[in-house]
Symmetry: C2
Subunit: 211 residues, 2 copies
Amino acid sequence: MKDQKISIAVIRRLPRYYRYLNILIEEGTDRISSAELSHRMNVTASQIRQDLNHFGGFGQQGYGYNVKYLHSEIGKVLGLDKGHSMAIIGIGNFGKALARNKDFASNDFYVKSMFDSDPAVIGREISGITVQDAAHLVTSLKEDPVDIAVLTVPKDVAAALADKVIEAGVKAIWNFAHCELEVPDNIVVENVYLVDSLMRLSYNDSHRPHK
Amino acid sequence: MKDQKISIAVIRRLPRYYRYLNILIEEGTDRISSAELSHRMNVTASQIRQDLNHFGGFGQQGYGYNVKYLHSEIGKVLGLDKGHSMAIIGIGNFGKALARNKDFASNDFYVKSMFDSDPAVIGREISGITVQDAAHLVTSLKEDPVDIAVLTVPKDVAAALADKVIEAGVKAIWNFAHCELEVPDNIVVENVYLVDSLMRLSYNDSHRPHK
DNA sequence: TAGATTGTTAATCGATTAACAATC
DNA sequence: TAGATTGTTAATCGATTAACAATC
């Protein structure tokens, strides 16, 4: 696929549009103007039209946007029109929670395999999937590849495991370890830094108005 | 506390500075210049100096920054110099994972109470804390207040529970439900939308260079 | 003191908003 | 057709970067 140069700010807003359009579908709304949507989402109508036009003219003058069509088009832009298989690396509290989560499946992200290095965990079955020995990570992922590796491991082993999944051919990493991974150009990483999130909450809490 | 008008972009970068300074402390580095740090963090030295000067002159001309001092000052800015008590609302997979997580405690965020509405869960003990009946949420939190309410509940009940914790006097909400909460001006909310994160990963994966 | 590096002002760049012509 | 609303260009605003005087 081509056209890079779309700013990160635009991309960050896409899932939010997608979410609001989903709500509109559930409400049974067929069409919406950028003005109405902007009112609902608390952004400017200009921003909505600018954002959407990075990806194509999804609206119609005098009419607005067809909700279902726009939802589906944004879904395609986000790559949600095809399923994504995931391997969870590290079956601790978070790994388990992600494995059991139902929200991801509804967007066609499904867990295909799970790995851990703890003998007490290897062989256990979670959500119908048997946890494999992380020692066989590379060979196993080469045999049975996944789209996404989910790293839910302590930060001191995250870099080494990232290298291994890349060796096995994984191109996308969802990193929950509290460290930054160095990866080749053609590998994408999305970090979930919960501690950072908590710190922002702490900041906003201590700088809350009239405190 | 005063001085608002500090941009959200700056605040988002603070935890990252904090993290890097922590690494430098572990490495035993005493001082660092904005140029060195910028090189390490892959940002401009200008940005670092601008960001830090929003909060005070933490450096010294000709010398740079004292790593420990800067770390501690950013900690204060983030409000990490005081402990934060948390109540976890919703003891599902995620609630449990957060309750058992050790990373938060190391930054002085500790779980004080837990609530659920499922009779099978109420009364159970997790990490030494007994899960209380969510029916008593408001009275219990009024008696034994917390700084932060962690919402790990399905999205259809999140809004109602947010109202309840606000009624009980909670001022800060860490929201894991996949919906946007409407709260009064003086309440702060930090959202963790894992599905959005996964969608960004999906976007970047499908628009990966030379795919 | 001379050298280094900050704090801060000025210049640039990019993102957001406003305006309006195109068009359904 | 007339009215509405988009797609898109132009104007504004804010954030990032560069430059440099202040100073340790």
